[in-house]
Amino acid sequence: MTFWFWRGLRRGVVTTSYPAALDRWTATLPTPPTFFPDLLTTALVDRLSALCPAGALERQGSEMTYDVGACTACGRCLVAAGAAARPSGELELAATARRQLVKRVPIRAGPA
């Protein structure tokens, strides 16, 4: 909150410049994760699927389906996946079709 106070005092304008540009502070907002396919194993995906309270993660054969629409950005998978996932920092996620929000992430072949 102090950020906005000082910015208002300094510039006289507190309003964000969005949609012209995203402000730097938005990087700290909770956002859905991005997964790295090279580090995703079958065992890890099964573990993440069991952890996800929203049922957003599911293994389908050699792919992991990730439903961004169902994701609550709780962060459990980020903690459990380690280097295999990081916050995406993506805020502009609105879609005109529900299926656009379901991502398919390939899983690395071979042993864990």
Partner: protein, 177 residues
Amino acid sequence: MSAEPTGAPGSPGSEAEARLAGELAGQVAGMFGRSLHIRTIDTGSCAACESEIRLLVAPHYDLHRLGFFFTPAPRHADLLLVTGPGVRAMDTAVAKTFAAMPDPKVVVATGACALGGVYAENGFVHGAVDRVLPVDVYVPGCPPSPLALLHGLLVAVGRLREKVSALEFADPVEGPS
């Protein structure tokens, strides 16, 4: 406004009509482009989405600078912002609100509940808003931040423009009664 006489194709009358039609189309597009009224409806949300929606009118985000306004009356609304998983107890209210809105109208489902991420379908909830309403735009997040909502509204404006351009600016022809 004085009426121009209708003439044959290529005549000064038809050119005047085409010019007037173009001006009218520009005015309609301008009106929708500059001002759009939003009606929100809560179908069982935990109120986190409402908290973020409320922030849209705060000075940090200043929704009004983009021509969006909230309205309490569905009859004045162009856009229906729906939160919550669609509790069945709200079915009548949701249906009446949607029916009361004039065309063209856009439905925006907001938050993970509305998108089917939190509650499974059961006897109390539909589980997702698109099971009861024709949703045009989906905004993910739990709750979606005001910037995510703003992006969703801008996507919705694109959808609305499509719907406006699809409208026929003529009354349906009725036969003699």
